[in-house]
Amino acid sequence: MSTLKTRYTLTQSQKMMIFVLSMSLYGLSNMFTELIPSVQLGPIELSVEYFAFIPLTLCMLFHPLYAAVGAAVGEIIFGELMLGQFGGLGELEKFITFSLAMYTAGRMVSDPKNRRQVGIAAITGVAIHQFFSSVIDIVKVWVGVEELEAVQGLAESVVLIEGVSFLNDVLFSGILFALLPTLYLVPRLYGKIEPLLGMKPRERNMQYATGAWLSPKLVIVGTLLAAVALGAELMSESGWSFGEFELPGAESNEGSLIWISIAAAALVAAAIILILRRSARRRQEAGQLDG
């Protein structure tokens, strides 16, 4: 018989404390990263993109939702508004992608003492954020330029630039300023920082009370699917015949092909729903279903 596990619940003011803490710390660090110069090697830029370790650490130690949103707000206020470089709607997209990525990373960690888990979560969080922001930049050019296909090589060059900056941000600033500091800080702060906010440390394998539907698995699978879709789209756009094959009769009955692909999509969707439901039931049986 498994006993009912205690949920990780917070009072209103504790949520506010986490929000304020994360906002002021990450905001402060943002002012420095805005001012640290970057090394330009042609279109490639080696730069300290952000101190992602601060929101990552806080998301792993406290409730990830409030820490992630707090960090995103801090970035907008300290890094943009106060330095006089607020970009308006462009910041909204940053806000959403950043808090989503940090939240996912925080949710992936069930035990802050487990270094492997912390490391994987940290690098995944950065990768998700950078991936989404690259995709958004690419889409912006596609929407903004009318005759994209007419311009030779524009599509490729945009993707190349974004791809290189993605790799830089994940491999250079991701490892130096997200992975290593997080590995250093999380086990050290665990159990020390929580009492200062008047709360108990997260216990191992504790479940969160809210936002369970937005599980890290969902976000990661979604990101991978988006990557595959984008890659396929790029292949077909640029006409690189890379593993291109024609089904017999594909020319004549295009209509039925559409139906086949819709059926395939439906199958995949059904499978995902089944898996989700089964895992929900398993959790219910374990006596720790949370809404």
Binding site: M17, L21, L28, G153
Partner: protein, 277 residues
């Protein structure tokens, strides 16, 4: 190497403080600064979204002229405009060069020019609006339009707490430097020195996190004593706070002039889509 040294000098705490003080609260004297924040925000929303879906060059050029006039009216700082131009040129320039590399030709210039026009309309709109709103009016305008109050709170809290935080950061940084040993040689491109400072900056956040945690607890407890949570959820309090916002004749005039200009522009644009190139 000089450049690296100069850049390292730039990261002094005093400089950041000065930059901030210069930036905040210097904007309510311009023509646009006297408008209601809600008018400005809605106006901005239009010019931030619509240009993306415009492919008519005449209309885009007309919008660009309007934005240029507004930027002059808002007296945006030349430094920000310079940064904007630099960013646009480098971004679009690299794309153009690479597209040449992938086999494009001179014909890629025109679509790139359209893209640049779009991007500059959007960025000029944001510069115009956000440099004519001081933080207080911005946060009131946002909360009048339904943005959560936590944002407005964070904005004022940020301005209040930043000098304290910087002071504390500076002190911890100095104590790390006192106890540590600076690298003897600067290394190629000053990389040793840069790495040393970056490592310290990261380490400083360990004590800083603990201190800030204490401080944020005090802040929230003070807020609770004053009934913050209650006030945030009470519509009457919000109404009282925002009662000074009102749409004056000049707001209507501003909106009317923009609308008339846009109508004229759209008629012109549909009649002559290829007016310039």
């Amino acid at each position: 190497m000089e450049a690296v040294k100069r850049a390292l000098d730039k990261i002094s705490v005093e400089r950041i403080k000065l930059e901030l003080l210069g930036n905040a609260y210097n904007s309510s004297s311009t023509v646009l600064g006297r408008l209601d924040p809600r008018t400005l925000l809605i106006w901005y929303l239009f010019f931030a979204i619509v240009p993306w879906f415009m492919h008519n060059r005449t209309i885009l050029l007309g919008m660009f002229i309007l934005m240029a006039v507004c930027t002059v009216l808002a007296r945006a700082s030349t430094f920000i405009i310079f940064i904007l131009c630099l960013g646009l040129i480098t971004q679009v320039g690299w794309m153009f060069l690479l597209s040449l590399f992938f086999g494009g030709g001179g014909e890629s210039v025109l679509p790139m020019l359209t893209l640049t026009l779009k991007l500059s309309v959007i960025s000029l709109a944001s510069i115009t609006v956000f440099s004519s709103l001081d933080p207080e009016r911005l946060s009131d305008g946002l909360s009048a339009l339904g943005v959560p109050d936590a944002f407005a709170f964070s904005l004022s809290y940020g301005y209040r707490i930043l000098p304290t935080l910087l002071e504390e950061f500076h002190q911890i940084l100095l104590s790390f430097r006192l106890r540590g040993l600076r690298p003897q040689k600067n290394g190629m491109l000053y990389w040793r020195t840069a790495a040393y400072y970056l490592r310290i900056i990261v380490l400083v956040f360990y004590p800083l996190m603990l201190n800030t945690a204490k401080r944020s607890r005090t802040t929230v407890e003070a807020l609770e004593t004053r009934g913050y949570n209650y006030a945030v959820n009470n519509p009457q309090v919000k109404k009282l706070k925002l009662s000074y916002l009102s749409l004056k004749p000049r707001d209507w005039m501003f909106a009317g002039v923009t609308a008339l200009y846009l109508i004229a522009l759209f008629t012109l644009g549909t009649a002559f889509p290829e007016l310039i190139y």
